[in-house]
């Protein structure tokens, strides 16, 4: 075990080392205090403390408190107790020693893999240039890539998503805040369920012992969004995709699809926590982006497959499209009629409607109109925000 740390000869003993270790853990964001140091020392009396692996397991049990802690514990343990036989200058390390080479201590514990200053971690600049794929370097690399390939990340900026998210959350709330008129028995309710109370009190000779409650169950509406990304819609796709991304984040029940000449489900991709990565996954899915549009066929496909699983009477289907269709208009009409039979509300947001003197004369649009609950313009985020009162009324 030559890798075990050597401590200076003048150090005051194991207790001080353990205090040093807890300080080391604390500096890297683990929540350990004096109590843990005490238990750690007591724990070591129950194991063979001379065996590093056994000590590691014992201390892991005592000092960690969640899965993230466990993930970084091994590195922290190595850097303190097994630092390659180097002499440690002080037993109780001043925080600057460990901090200088590692991640900034202001970061939350789980945000970065910890690279404590042991010399064992590889420097990022060995090997070829791609090894610098970290932090800002990565961003530059992807931007260069974007120029080579048509990428959705060109179209959507993280700031747009943030703004869209705010609007989407408000819309989500407008739909969410719906409660049933009838009350049902519930464990935590706002009113007393008298019928149940009286029935129950019969068992105890007419004395009411427990007070059953009732409440109004929530009946939220959920949104299923279908976004047209055909050639004619390219200009508006930026706004709409940001909006969809925001919508997905705001409400976990939301579902989203893209269509051009075929239909793609993007809900899982959009729900990725990393905004840029989400859009990266999206561009893989949206192969054929900016091409022709077959609205009728895509909607027929939707009503025949996904709609059976995801659309019911408490659903709002949101279609974002300009209505320029290369299919026969009847196809679109029947698809919408079929969708309507599932009891959902259909909202069509058309970016062209925002123009002066627009008439829905595109054949597809004309065929769709009788089936729509709401037909609105939408080419800016502000237009989407204006939807809020309409949605509350639905």
């Amino acid at each position: 075990m030559s890798r075990v740390s050597k401590f200076a000869a003048r150090d005051p003993g194991p207790a001080a080392r353990m205090a040093g270790f807890t300080a080391h853990l604390r500096a890297h964001g683990l929540r350990v205090g004096v109590g843990e140091a005490d238990i750690a020392l007591r724990a070591l009396t129950h194991v063979q403390a001379s065996n590093p692996e056994e000590t590691r397991r014992a201390l892991k049990t005592v000092c960690t408190g969640c899965a993230d802690d466990v993930a970084q514990f091994d590195d922290l343990f190595d850097s303190y107790w097994l630092n390659g036989g180097r002499v440690r200058q002080k037993v109780v390390p001043s925080l600057s020693e460990t901090n200088s080479e590692s991640v900034q201590s202001s970061r939350p514990a789980n945000s970065q893999q910890v690279a404590a200053g042991t010399g064992e971690t590889t420097d990022p600049d060995d090997g070829n240039g791609e090894a610098e794929a970290d932090g800002t370097g990565k961003l530059v690399a992807t931007i260069v890539q974007n120029l080579m390939k048509k990428d959705l990340r060109d179209l959507v900026q993280p700031e747009d998503i943030a703004e869209a998210e705010v609007i989407a959350r408000r819309l989500g709330a407008a739909l969410q805040d719906r409660r049933s008129r009838r009350r049902k028995a519930a464990r935590k309710g706002d009113q007393i369920h008298f019928r149940k109370l009286i029935r129950q009190s019969l068992a105890t000779g007419g004395e009411p012992l427990s007070l059953p409650k009732k409440h109004r169950p929530e009946r939220p509406l959920k949104i299923v969004a279908l976004c047209d990304v055909s050639g004619s819609m390219t200009l508006y796709a930026q706004v709409f995709l940001a909006f969809l991304a925001g919508l997905m984040r705001a409400d976990p029940a939301t579902d989203a699809y893209l269509f051009h000449t075929r239909l793609v489900r993007i809900a899982d991709a959009l729900r990725d926590k990393d905004t840029l990565r989400a859009l990266g996954r999206l561009s893989v899915l949206a192969d054929g982006f900016g091409g022709g549009s077959k609205i009728g066929q895509s909607l027929t496909q939707f009503s025949r497959t996904y709609a059976r699983r995801f659309v019911d009477g408490r659903t709002v289907v949101l279609i974002l499209s300009d209505g320029y269709d290369t299919d026969a208009p009847e196809l679109l009409g029947t698809a919408l009629a079929k969708l309507k039979q599932r009891g959902c509300k259909i909202i069509w947001l058309n970016p062209l409607k925002g123009w002066d003197g627009y008439q829905p004369i595109a054949q597809g649009m004309a065929a769709a109109l009788p089936h729509l609950d709401l037909f609105r313009p939408a080419n800016r985020l502000a237009d989407l925000a204006a939807l809020e009162p309409e949605l509350t009324r639905l």
Binding site: R31, A43, R57, T61, G65, C66, A67, G205
Partner: protein, 291 residues
């Protein structure tokens, strides 16, 4: 006592614990601290408590948490019906109000619920508080008080102190975040899906009659299935069901009958989307890799 001894003792009861888990259990027992086990559903968290009770040859007291669990169901409750009857009977006998009151608020009328029961046993039991993250935060606070003091105060009776300190095991699988206070009071172990060797040992321990080649295939198949993008990854219980199903169907080789394999996936994949994703081609590819 050595932690490896505990590991062997648990193995004798049919539970193959990883080194980390065995150490955590050992320290929890040696230091007399509650142990918090976290991990995905189906990795055998609850089973730890059952096996531990068998190893220590003691009683297992289980408190299943759920939303809306309150003190009356977890700690104690007065036996209202019995109190009422006593009051009626006392009224007919002409007993005075004061003495009746004394009588109906005695321990005789107290219904012990798991937490109170656990601290009033002659021999330290294993107290399993299952799925603590499902209970409300208020209950968590109450639990903290019990776990730190090992005493329960009943307003009408006074404080009931523990005769023994139970061995406490808490399990959670991330329905909500637990408070730091609770995490700090417990030792912690994260239980993960077992690696290949451990899972093979589990299968051998639980289902000894499986042939070696099939056992290898089953484990290889289940392990690679967990790497697929699934809504609900199959746990250990599912793996054991799967092996039992294969044994019952008389399958000796996973690749021999694609249809039968697809049918027996019912034991592993529990959502419609997962069934939909793992089509015959995928399951055959995984089985081929495992062989």
């Amino acid at each position: 006592m050595q932690w490896t001894t505990r590991q062997t003792a648990m193995a004798e009861q049919g539970y193959i614990a990883s080194d980390d888990l065995a150490m955590a259990v050992h320290l929890a027992l040696s230091l007399g601290r509650p142990l918090l086990l976290e991990g995905a559903a189906g990795v055998g968290k609850t089973e730890v408590a059952r096996v531990l009770a068998a190893v220590c040859d003691t009683q297992l007291i289980r408190l299943q948490c759920y939303e809306g669990l309150d003190a009356a169901q977890a700690i104690y409750e007065w036996n209202y019906q019995r109190q009422l009857l006593t009051i009626r009977a006392a009224a007919e006998d002409g007993e005075t109000g004061r003495s009746v009151e004394q009588r109906i608020f005695s321990e005789e009328f107290l219904l012990e619920r798991p937490l109170l029961k656990a601290i009033r046993q002659p021999k330290p039991p294993v107290l399993l508080i299952d799925e603590i993250d499902r209970a409300d935060e208020e209950f968590e606070a109450y639990l903290l008080e019990v776990l730190s003091e090992y005493q329960i105060s009943v307003p009408e009776l006074g404080t009931l102190t523990a005769t023994t300190r139970p061995i406490v095991i808490l399990t959670a699988n991330g329905t909500r975040d637990l408070s730091d206070a609770l995490r700090r009071r417990c030792l912690y172990a994260h239980v993960d899906y077992p690696d290949r060797e451990t899972e093979l040992a589990i299968l051998k321990a639980r289902c000894g009659e499986v042939e070696d080649s099939l056992a290898n295939q089953i484990i290889g198949f289940v392990q690679s299935l967990r790497k697929e993008e699934l809504e609900k990854k199959p746990g250990i219980a599912e793996m054991l069901d799967f092996s039992a199903a294969l044994m019952g169907l008389g399958v000796a080789d996973l690749t021999e009958d694609p249809k039968l394999l697809q049918a027996s996936l019912a034991t592993l994949l529990k959502t419609e989307a997962d069934r939909f994703n793992i089509i015959t081609e995928v399951s055959q590819r995984l089985a081929g890799q495992a062989a």
